[in-house]
């Protein structure tokens, strides 16, 4: 790294990418889906640093271990697939998951409940559709089949309107369940279903990182240097337990930050963040 560009701080986006990357084990097969720049960068970061034996399957192209020219705003692009070692077909990727060989998948939702169920299909009740969301791709299938699931969202923070009302991202109940977590909304445990996978084991948000406790309930594990439990509770519709060893999330090393910046020169990943969150930065030596 050139001294003139010495990195002394990281952005919220880079912190989230690092936290997502930390959930990725070496030697597994993992798939990043589409419309998920934070996750795409996290997978490449993991493979370049702590998980060199990761079998990285690119979303949409199904290329394996590509070295993207740069991150593009659309996923099914040759730039994202450059240098892929080999390719899967759509059926092969999903067959690998169905037979228990997809180690980890990454899913998000416009609504995420305490058990990790998520909605990306529709808002409103069965009688009245108030907002049609884009849909979940293969998330419904993979939430059942993938060995583990990393949940992420860059829109955890909720703002109260004039009347003090909030629209939450982490909700008590999803209007529609697109992908499954640890229990149904009625409390039926995941073990009652013949799923292959173990379900979600973390939620990385713009405010902190949750794990899941033995009951399958989201539990706060890490805050960020500029957040705390109270702030996170205010933006979360359900009450949540806090881990005994709650601490501040680790920040990425300069070499990792440099890697992210080189791979995403167009800053596509910032499009997942709110305008306010794009200027949140953390001093690397502040901890």
């Amino acid at each position: 790294m050139n001294k003139a560009t010495k990195i002394t701080s990281c952005t919220l986006g880079e912190l989230m990418i690092y936290q997502i990357a930390l959930s990725i084990e070496d030697g597994i097969l993992a798939f990043h889906g589409f419309g998920s720049p934070l996750v795409q960068l996290a997978l490449h970061l993991a493979k370049r640093f702590h998980a060199p034996n990761l079998v990285l399957v690119a979303g949409a192209t199904y290329g394996i271990n590509p070295t993207p020219a740069f991150l593009t705003p659309t996923t099914n692009d040759f730039a994202m697939n450059r240098g892929a070692e080999c390719h899967l077909s759509i059926e092969e990727l999903f067959d690998l998951a169905a037979s228990g060989r997809l180690g980890r998948m990454f899913l998000s939702g416009l609504q995420i409940d305490r058990w990790g169920n998520m909605n990306v299909t529709r808002l409103g009740n069965d009688e009245r559709l108030t907002l049609k969301l884009p849909g979940g791709g293969g998330g419904c299938n993979l939430s059942a089949d993938a060995g583990h699931v990393t949940i992420w969202t860059a829109a955890h923070r909720s703002h109260a309107d004039n009347l003090g009302r909030r629209r939450y991202r982490l909700v008590k109940r999803c209007d529609f369940v697109t992908s499954v977590g640890h229990r149904t909304a009625d409390g039926l445990a995941r073990a009652a279903m013949p799923y292959r996978g173990g379900g979600p084991d973390c939620i990385v948000t713009d405010l902190g990182v949750f794990g899941f406790n033995a009951e399958g309930h989201a539990e706060l594990r890490f805050t960020y240097p500029d957040t705390n439990c109270e702030l996170i509770a205010e933006s979360t519709e359900f009450e949540f337990p806090v881990a005994d060893n709650l601490s501040t999330a680790a920040l990425p090393e300069p070499a990792l930050i440099d890697f992210i910046r080189r791979l995403d020169p167009l800053k596509i990943h910032e499009r997942e963040l709110s305008q306010d969150d794009r200027v949140r930065t953390f001093e690397l030596n502040s901890l």
């Binding site: 705003p73 390719h87 077909s89 849909g135 419904c140 799923y195 020169p265 997942e272």
Partner: protein
């Protein structure tokens, strides 16, 4: 079996294979290799009440929704990812009730197509139970597996009336070559009753065979040569995605149904008598050459996204 020696036809004849009310599987995915020229022709022919099935799509489905061609959507995703976000025509059509929401999931779709390809009434899957997709799809059933005792979901065979695909090359007989990700096109071609195809170019059988045959001729009903037929989506390695045009499209969609009609459908679809007129309107050879030059260097490539 489609065995005629020469599958070549003109674009209006090709698209006329689609009937009002058909179940249509559109090939490609997201911003990659969508059969856009054929979809514009479909709109000009006023074909209506389509039921769309597919995996992850964007401008193709959104355009048809904006033109009022769709009655139901069983796609797994319709949007513009981090590029522009929600598909606005699709969203409006779903929320007004004009398009019935029958969202599906990628593997569910794959298994339904496989059942059709294998001549089976259904395929089992473990997933979907525990989600609300069962409410959208009362035709999905559950059963206890006689071997393992597990509860499985059975999804019925899906045989689309028509698969519409844009491929790189075909020979006259209808053998197809696709470069890069085929997405669900091979499954669509094998499961559908009719397969209609636009191609960048017809080439000799010998040349096609040396590139490799992605889909054999006897699945293919008819084919038409439509260079740049995927524009504004990409058809690498020939041309990249036209983000600038897509941005213009998105702005038009943002202005509402009337604005979309006036600023996009009228000029780019209804008032273009054919594909050549469309290509000239989007900037002709100058514009197309720019999209073809993606491979001149990373900087040049990246500029297409700025």
């Amino acid at each position: 079996m489609y065995t005629q020696a020469d599958k070549r036809c003109l674009l209006p004849e090709l698209v006329a294979h689609i009937q009002n009310g058909d179940c249509l599987a559109i090939g490609g995915g997201l911003s990659w290799r969508e059969p856009m020229a054929a979809l514009r022709e479909l709109i000009r022919q006023n074909i209506k009440d389509l039921k769309l099935v597919g995996s992850a799509h964007g401008i193709d489905v959104d355009l048809l929704c904006g033109a009022g061609s769709v009655a139901a959507s069983a796609e797994s995703y319709v949007g513009f990812e981090q590029d522009f976000g929600m598909a606005l025509n699709y969203r409006r059509a779903c929320e007004s009730g004009a398009v019935k929401v029958e969202d599906n999931c990628c593997y569910t779709l794959v298994q339904q197509l496989r059942a059709a390809i294998q001549g089976l009434p259904f395929m089992p899957i473990r997933s979907v139970q525990g989600t609300d997709f069962l409410k959208l799809h009362p035709e999905f059933k559950t059963m206890t597996c006689p071997f393992s005792g597990e509860q499985l979901v059975l999804v019925p065979a899906l045989k689309p009336d028509v698969a519409l695909i844009h491929a790189h090359y075909a020979d006259e007989h209808g053998n197809l070559h696709i470069e890069g990700p085929p997405v669900a096109d091979i499954l669509f071609a094998k499961a559908s009753k009719k397969v209609i195809v636009t191609v960048e170019a017809f080439i000799s059988h010998q040349e096609l065979a040396s590139k490799g045959i992605t889909i054999p001729y006897f699945y293919v009903t008819a084919a038409c040569e439509v260079p740049y037929g995927a524009h504004p989506t990409s058809c690498y390695p020939r041309y990249a995605y036209d983000r600038e045009h897509t941005k213009h499209y998105y702005q038009a969609a943002k202005s509402g149904d009337d604005g979309f009609r006036k600023d996009y459908l009228d000029p780019y679809v209804y008032e273009c008598k054919d594909h050549a007129a469309y290509l000239s309107l989007i900037g002709g050879q100058t514009r197309l050459a720019r999209l073809e030059q993606w491979n001149d260097g990373v900087d040049q490539w990246m500029q297409l996204y700025e």
